[in-house]
Symmetry: C2
Subunit: 518 residues, 2 copies
């Protein structure tokens, strides 16, 4: 990928900044060849045009907080927009790529030290580059009985995933909730520590989230207000035993009563984790290609859906509940759950057990789910549409109907998971495409925009979105003519007057790049 300069930056300024970066990190860690840039593109972007629109101009790979500070100071001097990444595996939402073309990647992948693991108080302190595999290896090799919560794609950064509010189906599955205490380099190069870490010799930085006075941590999530360089991160103590209950349901409209049964069990804590309810689609997309099933340009028809369900023995909707604790407590809660299901289905749960000392148990990272991008063949890509719904069957069913109809209208195969998280449901809808198929890619983009608009009309916003849709999604948050956007902008302009840090992230633009209302 040839060089695209960031808006308002000349080639001379750019070159001077690159030279200055080299003095900080050394020649070999400033990456500005065409090949270098390729590695930071969003290869799964919804179309070549989208990939190009989010192309970086280069990358600087840092190894310490001090280097982050120096790079930030240089970026201010030359007004070079930086796009910080941990490991850059934010696939489906943009990978390593920046919103603003020509932004310079600040790559913290080498800052991958596990600074502390405390077994008794069940936390670790991590740098941005620590991946799920790294932490898993560390815990396993040192026989530390703490469990991780791991998303589908396990090669990403633990911190990066949590900062983007990734989640899993584990009890510690809301990863941003596990963050306790941050170290942040502000856009002016200052280092700040939050919570009780704001006391230099604090003994409770990774132990108590709030600190004294206002708490900042969630303001550095999905944001462009600072570069997080360390986090305290809570881990789950190994449970005594687990009991897993699985069930598959045959009909699309089962999702309604299922949510109504699961939500109160989740809210009351009988179910200790967010319950993911994927449809049949993942079984096919992770193991086969579409042409093995169907060749039409329309969405796969019901007949194909039936064949997929038959082949893999899955239902229209599928879910697993795991109970963690003393075996007798698990059994008691199992019966509570079974009672709640009885009025709705005659099916029995399929049950499996694990107890301390058995093999397995602790979850392991995997990259297996990434196979889905081969569904259409060619240069495959995927993008996720993830609105938040109230955890009621009627709202969820309506959203399912609305979404599936739009998928069908645009000829895209419906692939969805509903996560029952208690009071709310996160609905992750996947769109798979082949970037070599321009028509399909265009239909996917049109579908995505329609979904954002239709969901906003229904009262639902997204919790996270792809780079290309950040402005669109942000614009749906329209209370008091975008009061929250204005609040974000006023903080942005205060902390980052030169607009160097991740312009456009989550729809937040610094004054320098702001173009009227987004």
């Amino acid at each position: 990928m040839e060089l695209i300069l960031p808006d308002q930056v000349t080639k001379e300024t750019f070159d001077a900044a690159v030279e200055a970066f080299r003095l900080i990190v050394g020649e070999e860690w400033v990456l500005v060849t065409n090949e270098d840039r390729e590695t930071y593109l969003d290869l799964y972007a919804p179309g070549d045009e989208a990939e190009r629109r989010h192309a970086p101009s280069g990358a600087v790979v840092v190894d310490s907080v001090e280097q982050v500070q120096e790079i930030v100071r240089i970026a201010n001097r030359y007004k070079i927009p930086l796009w910080p990444i941990s490991r850059g595996k934010n696939f489906g939402y943009g990978g390593a790529a920046p919103v603003l073309a020509g932004s310079f990647i600040l790559d913290m992948g080498r800052m991958n030290r596990i600074l502390e693991v405390n077994e008794d108080l069940a936390y670790c302190i991590l740098e941005p580059g620590v991946g799920f595999f790294d932490l898993h290896d560390y815990l396993t090799e040192n026989n530390i009985p703490l469990w991780m919560s791991i998303p589908g794609n396990g090669w990403g950064s633990v911190m990066g995933n949590a900062l983007e509010r990734g989640f899993s189906r584990m009890p510690y599955g809301e990863h941003s909730n596990s963050i306790c205490g941050m170290e942040i380099v502000l856009p002016d190069g200052e280092v700040v520590r939050t919570g009780t870490g704001a006391m230099a010799n604090s003994k409770s930085w990774p132990l108590f989230k709030s600190g004294f006075g206002p708490a900042w941590d969630p303001l550095f999530m999905q944001s462009n207000f600072g570069i997080v360089t360390k986090v305290g991160f809570w881990l789950m103590p190994e449970p005594e035993a687990t009991l897993t209950m699985r069930m598959s349901l045959p009909n699309p409209d089962d999702i309604g009563w299922l949510v109504d049964v699961l939500a109160p069990l989740r809210i009351s804590g009988v179910i200790p984790h967010n319950v993911g309810i994927p449809n049949y689609m993942g079984s096919a997309t992770t193991t086969t290609q579409r042409h093995e099933w169907y060749n039409g340009d329309d969405a796969i028809p019901d007949e194909v859906i039936s064949r997929i369900m038959d082949r893999y023995g899955v239902g229209w909707w599928n879910f697993a509940i795991t109970l963690y604790g003393h075996p007798q407590a698990n059994e008691a809660n199992r019966r509570v759950i079974e009672e709640a299901f009885k009025p709705h289905t005659e099916q029995e749960f399929s049950i499996s057990y694990w107890k301390k000392g058995d093999p397995g148990g602790a979850p392991s990272p995997s990259v297996y789910p990434l196979r889905i991008v081969n569904w259409h063949g060619g240069r495959g890509g995927h993008i996720g549409f993830s609105p938040i719904l109230p955890a009621t069957g009627s709202e969820v069913y309506d959203q399912y109907r609305r979404t599936r109809n739009l998928y069908t209208d645009h000829g895209v195969d419906y692939s969805a998971t509903f996560y029952v998280c208690g009071r709310h449901v996160i609905n992750v809808n996947l769109m798979l495409y082949d970037k070599d198929n321009r028509d399909l890619t265009e239909r996917t983009n049109n579908l995505f925009s329609s979904l954002v608009d239709a969901s906003a009309v229904a009262g639902f916003g997204e919790y996270r979105t792809h780079l290309s849709y950040m402005d669109h999604v942000a614009s749906t948050f329209d209370f008091n003519e975008g009061a929250l956007r204005r609040l974000n902008e006023s903080l942005k302009d205060t902390l980052d007057p030169n607009g160097i840090l991740a312009p456009g992230k989550s729809g937040i633009w610094p004054e320098r790049y702001r173009r009227g209302s987004q």
Copy 2:
């Protein structure tokens, strides 16, 4: 109390502002007589001088968000510092009174509407003036099976308590954690809604905390960045049954092993709530006066402590654990807990049960604990010192020793509770005094300062403090020469350039009132 004008405000300006306030809320809701001012003083302040140092100049009582906006705009015009209160019952930490003398109280006690209660999704939407009694009455009268978490003093505001990070020993006991979605009037009078409430027709405002992009809610807790006018607030579904286990321990050094036993049970979730461990003192202070026990000017000696323990049948440390859920799950977890205690004590737990349909169960608000202020007689007062510790027996024991020694040095009766909250412990230390006893009050103030300093040296900061000590406590957060304070100040100056909102709250001063480093 005669009028004290705020710093930098003339009598003419003050009078003009008062007139303008009257036009908004009506004559009767602007309170500026000497008697009016009395009602907003911190009657429990550590000394008359402290009471005076935090005397307000008047109060304006508002009834709507629009009135809050208008008052804020007037305050900007005349540069009158405002001190917003919900119900003003923040006793032990300052009551209704402001940090800065002469601040005008913005009293939201009349905004006491319960805007919504949703039984299925277990939340309510509250205005600032809704008290624990109000919400409890509403739930009881409407037979809504949702339980509240209630602090010792039940006549305060549900929202106000949560914003100050109040807590209890219930599963929903970290009250700030129950806030989901806020409406805020910013210092310039703009209204903003956070989380998904930033979407005008959002259906998930009180259901999902984060929203899209950076999340602001915790930044409006213990802060002076905005006036919270509504919150979504989560309530606990009535459990199927409870099982309560009580134990008293005879020796001061039992606190060490007790914390080491409780912390892992709390972290793993076997114990579903923060466990409060008060010493013997509360039994005596809520029911008797000191002179009935002892007349010395030194701290009550061990002999008196023994008599108190004997009379009330309490231990040096006392605690209760409650399990909530299916009776068999509760029994299983009870056995897990009993097993964990066996190596340390031969005592048995005293056990009590409740199940759905039994009387009692849901906690009720009470003001009974406020009787403690009569301990010394006279115009009684109390103040709380509340550092955060790691949840390890050795750190907690050391802090107990350090604190008790300082109490003894200053001749103050040691009254402490340790709350085991999982990875951290909140240690609430109470100081009781009689404001008519100048010597005792002075010793209390000296003790308080010594505690802040000694704890900071040990690595512990406070999670909350009295008005008079906000600057002192804030100054102990010293990482990178007070980087967090500077970050707070830069946001403060951006949002509140006239410095009208709660100057000095949590040690955060607007530029106008800033005097070098605090």
